[in-house]
């Protein structure tokens, strides 16, 4: 018997979508003098809103406002007072969770199930967690009276627009810094609603400034002489440019860049849960996750069985309208990203990997890519080396734990890894040897504000979250 689930769309009216959004500088929403941008719903290709962007002069205004706020109020405010503001932001995010979730799904294309159950609650959790640190910094292990750095210039990506804003702003504020943040060009809306929350929480003007724009605005911001600390999450390519341009300036830098994580499945793994973990590792957020488990390393003796189970499971994933509560895979964030995924998938086929794509129907409009699994991938293929940042899994095999380790580490990246085995000693051995900032055991893509996140090598440096994450925003 077939049992179709009726459409269960979340109402888009909940998003309180406005025709225009303005940048937030010095406590006020103002028109930027840059060329306005149009934010598009990737699921329908319709324009959602027009957003004013910052010019070089606006960046300068924002950085100066942040400096004034740092000097006059925020930098000298007792931690216990700062904590009250940060708690207030956390509570207000929780109160407006539904609105933020719907807006995030509209602007980004991710399924409402994820924005509702992961992005928004985790964003609130980051503010809650860091509010707790604000008056306890002397116990963080960075000396008796660790000082803030000043103005933090932060540039964030489009894959988790609100959550990345929270990851950046919360620790900066807790440590006593002020912030100028540039959201991604394709997903500026939730950051600007967060600005509204920050205004309503009555943070002193200038403590947080949010300036939308494209890469040029980001470059202007990180290179502004008034910025004391730069935090960037995005591509390795841009990260390298930022690192080069900041050399010798004395600005403190943390980078969270790309990844090509290995998800290693041994023959004694809990197979059904490993399949879930593989699915969650690569198809969560359409694979637009820097720590995605994009390389599946499976022990050769179970490869066939595991792949059969995986394909059966992936066939049940529901692709479609991001606002439908039963959608598992939403839209690819932009046409550019879709083109990049398509190009790398073609390279995979051309290099001889065996492609399997879920037979799920694709909507007529919007940017979509069906979940795809490549079997018979070898280390030398592009799809094993390059970050695809889409719902595409490359499957490789190994024979021994040593081979698994060698293959997992054989990448210029090093953000995350997963290990699936019922053998505890093997988990510990691998966790010790894997060059990855996060190693998940018998799970994948689990995030918590208490757990530091960050990478090795071309995946960047610095940690976000936990006690370790405070270091990036303190003068230590």
């Amino acid at each position: 018997m077939t049992w179709e689930y009726a459409p269960a769309p979340e109402s888009r009216a909940i998003a309180n979508l406005k025709p225009g959004y303005r940048m937030f500088v010095d406590g006020e929403f103002v028109d930027g003098t840059g060329e306005p941008l149009k934010s598009v719903n990737p699921a329908t290709e319709e324009v959602l809103a027009e957003v004013s962007t910052a010019s070089a002069a606006d960046v300068d205004k924002a950085v100066k406002a942040a400096h004034r706020a740092y000097d006059k109020t925020w930098g000298r405010m007792p931690g216990a007072e700062r904590a009250k503001y940060i708690f207030r932001i956390a509570r207000m995010i929780a109160e407006r969770a539904r609105e933020l979730a719907v807006l995030e799904s509209l602007d980004n294309g991710k399924p409402i199930r994820e924005s509702r159950d992961t992005d928004v609650p985790t964003a609130a959790a980051h503010f809650f967690y860091h509010a707790g640190w604000a008056d306890k910094l002397e116990y963080a292990g960075y000396g008796p009276d660790p000082r803030p750095l000043g103005v933090a210039g932060q540039v964030i990506p489009w894959n988790f627009p609100l959550l990345m804003a929270a990851w950046k702003i919360a620790p900066a504020l807790a440590c006593g810094n002020t912030v100028v943040l540039k959201p991604a060009e394709t997903t500026p809306l939730t950051a600007l609603v967060l600005a509204e929350i920050i205004q309503q929480a009555e943070l002193p003007p200038g403590v947080v400034n949010i300036i939308p724009g494209a890469g040029d605005v980001g470059a202007e911001l990180v290179n502004h002489p008034g910025v004391n600390k730069v935090a960037f999450t995005g591509s390795t390519e841009v990260g390298k440019v930022i690192q080069a341009s900041l050399a010798g300036t004395g600005k403190k830098l943390t980078l969270e860049l790309g990844g090509k994580a290995a998800n290693i499945v041994f023959d004694d793994a809990p197979l059904d849960q490993a399949v879930e973990g593989i699915v969650n590792g690569i198809f969560f957020n359409q694979g637009h996750v820097c720590c995605a488990g994009s390389r599946l390393l499976v022990q050769e003796s179970i490869a066939e069985e595991l792949l059969d189970r995986l394909r059966a499971r992936v066939s049940t994933l529901r692709l479609g309208d991001p606002l439908d509560k039963n959608t598992d895979i939403g839209a690819i964030n932009s046409r550019e990203q879709l083109t990049k995924i398509t190009e790398l998938v073609a390279a995979g086929e051309q290099e001889g990997a065996q492609r399997w794509t879920s037979p799920c129907p694709l909507p007529d409009k919007g940017f979509y890519f069906a979940p795809t699994v490549f079997a018979g991938v070898t280390q030398s293929m592009r799809i094993a080396r390059e970050e695809i940042f889409g719902p595409v899994l490359s499957v490789l095999t190994f024979r021994t734990p040593e081979e698994a380790l060698a293959k997992a580490n054989n990448t210029p990246y090093g953000l995350s890894a997963g290990v699936w085995t019922e053998k505890g000693s093997r988990i510990l051995w691998l966790a010790d040897k894997l060059r990855a900032g996060v190693v998940w055991a018998n799970t994948f893509n689990r995030f918590d504000p208490t757990a530091p996140f960050g990478g090795y090598q071309e995946s960047g440096f610095g940690r976000e979250g936990g006690r370790a994450g405070l270091e990036a925003y303190l003068d230590v």
Partner: protein
């Protein structure tokens, strides 16, 4: 996973059976619970909800297993089973103690409702093999078309898998043409690994259905446990091509719970299991909630518990 021919081999002796059951992939508790919680967020609305409610009604094994059961209680249970309310087709079965099977048979009077009876010293299963088999034969002789047996959890937990296996086979033989549901009493098996092993043991021994619980032990049916059992029948089908059923019993009281189970059936085992031949709910109070929610769907408003019959 082993092929069909290898499966006859694994029951050759105690050692082979043990090696097979312990060679099954483990179940990660955090993972199965996360997956179950994820499936529970499916939003089933409108036509799909009504469809699910009607399907769930057709899958109910309407149950009364009380020391206080009387002929009168059974007669009213059977009336409800035949015609839950105006315009609603019958449930799958009634489920009663063996000594009340004859009453149920008489009350059902040829209606297409099956008669399930618990047997084998239900619920503890603590008696001699002889008594358990006599219990089974009695239930069938009285007219039971389905037998819900309990496994010997003591034997299972002490690793005497061969004994559990033989006992299921013996009960299956004693039950004759009656459908055999094997109650694992998952609340006493405690771990998901045990649930998976016991599921395979029951399938290997010829159980037509694997059933979670007696309803007398808490926790009874939970979503993660049902999921592990659905994986077992799915994998059994993969190996042998045979379709076997699953029956969660105990603790499923609301339409919301029932729909969550149906979502799991649909997405974990597959749509072919969405039939009373392969999935049942062992329940008593669930039926009335399904009837109330069905009416809410049809009438567009909620009427309340006084508008369904208490039997």
């Amino acid at each position: 996973m082993a092929g069909t021919t290898e499966l006859t081999d694994v029951t050759r002796d105690e050692g082979a059976l043990r090696r097979f059951l312990h060679g099954l992939p483990g179940v990660d508790a955090v993972g199965i619970e996360q997956r179950s919680a994820g499936l529970a967020t499916r939003s089933i609305k409108k036509a799909s909800k009504l469809r699910a409610i009607e399907l769930a009604i057709s899958m109910v094994d309407l149950t009364t297993l009380e020391g206080a059961d009387t002929h009168g209680k059974i007669r009213s249970l059977c009336a409800k089973a035949k015609r839950p309310e105006a315009g609603v087709s019958h449930v799958a079965a009634v489920c009663v103690y063996p000594d009340l099977v004859a009453t149920a048979k008489e009350a059902l009077d040829g209606a297409p409702v099956r008669i399930a009876s618990v047997a084998t010293a239900f619920p503890s299963g603590r008696s001699s093999r002889q008594v358990k088999l006599a219990d089974t034969e009695f239930a069938v002789a009285q007219g039971a078309t389905e037998v819900d047996m309990v496994i010997d959890r003591g034997a299972f937990l002490s690793g005497r898998y061969g004994q559990v296996f033989e006992e299921i086979q013996a009960v299956k033989a004693a039950a004759g043409s009656a459908h055999l549901k094997v109650i694992l009493e998952t609340g006493e098996l405690a771990t998901y690994d045990n649930v998976r092993r016991a599921s395979w043991l029951a399938l290997l021994a010829g159980g037509d259905f694997i059933k979670t619980s007696t309803g007398k032990v808490s926790p009874a049916a939970t979503l993660p446990v049902t999921n592990v059992m659905l994986q077992a029948v799915r994998d059994w089908h993969g190996v042998t091509g045979e379709l076997r059923g699953v029956k969660p019993a105990g603790g499923i009281r609301t339409t919301k719970d029932a729909i969550r189970h149906l979502v799991a059936v649909n997405e974990v085992a597959g749509p072919e299991w969405l039939t009373p031949d392969l999935f049942r709910f062992g329940a008593s109070s669930l039926l009335n909630d399904l009837l109330m929610q069905r009416r809410t769907q049809l009438d567009g408003h909620y009427s309340g518990p006084d508008y369904v019959t208490v039997d």
